[in-house]
Symmetry: C2
Subunit: 135 residues, 2 copies
DNA sequence: ATCCAGTTTATAATAATTCTAAAGTAAAAC
DNA sequence: GTTTTACTTTAGAATTATTATAAACTGGAT
């Protein structure tokens, strides 16, 4: 994704393309493979990659803004930190607790044959399959 | 589950049946349906139900002790608080984010036809299916 | 009854995240 | 191109869930 697209992405989401947002967006979205991170890991990587330092609160603000705009998804992982994913399509995850690593599973690689119907008055929003790994 | 069984349950787990543990165990395990809770909700419910007050740290200690002994399971729910479940068999969950409620799904009610093979050198520990609900 | 390891307790410490209010800035209005 | 305005960033404080600490307590062995 090119810089011009980054700017468009931000503008069309109603996000003013500030220096910080553009930097973070470039870091997150200018890549081929999907990327999983926590606010802490993102912060460290940004410190290395770019010369600028961002306030931690800015990382939080930005990541949440991107999430609200649908550019990031939050992954269901129990633990202290919240994981985010640049893959916003419907998909599943392996979780390797050895090194706290998430790995995407394409939606097509999981086929569910049978699920229960939703409780009264409720509908199914989405189904997440989480495969925990061991060595 | 009767009191005598509660005591046996604690003793066979190597847990000394203290006043607090017995009270909490009775509250958690003397019921027919499975029960989902957070430390906070459990604490509130115990305050109402029993005349005794427990230190919050005791609730944490006890819940973790029960979990280590295999009498409680921890559920994968993203959010600030950790959820526990008196159902320790292999099963899945609905999650109703409207009222932060978990509902058990029997393992037999979910059939997965296809899953990807685990990444190199890793094995599958378990599979958790999480069905998010909406109104 | 006495003792001791395991427990409970109140409180402090920690960790992730959110809040706050002042200073900064993109972009609209002039 | 200035000025203005509303949105952002920032540093630090506040909050929240959880864990650690260390002193007081207690079940159960002796």
């Amino acid at each position: 994704m090119k810089k011009i697209d980054i700017l468009k992405k931000l503008r069309t989401s109603g996000l003013r393309p500030t220096k910080q947002r553009v930097e973070i967006a470039k870091f997150l979205f200018e890549r081929d493979k999907t990327f999983h991170f926590t606010v802490e890991s993102l912060n460290k990587l940004l410190e290395k990659k770019t010369s600028n330092k961002f306030a931690l609160a800015t990382i939080y603000n930005t990541v949440h803004a991107f999430k609200s705009a649908g550019h990031l998804s939050e992954v269901e992982v129990r633990g202290k930190k919240t994981y985010f994913d640049t893959n916003v399509s419907n998909h599943h995850h392996f979780y390797d607790s050895e090194n706290s690593e998430l790995i995407d599973i394409d939606s097509n690689d999981v086929v569910i044959q049978k699920i229960p119907k939703a409780p009264n008055g409720k509908k199914i929003k989405n189904i997440e399959v989480f495969i925990n790994l061991k060595n």
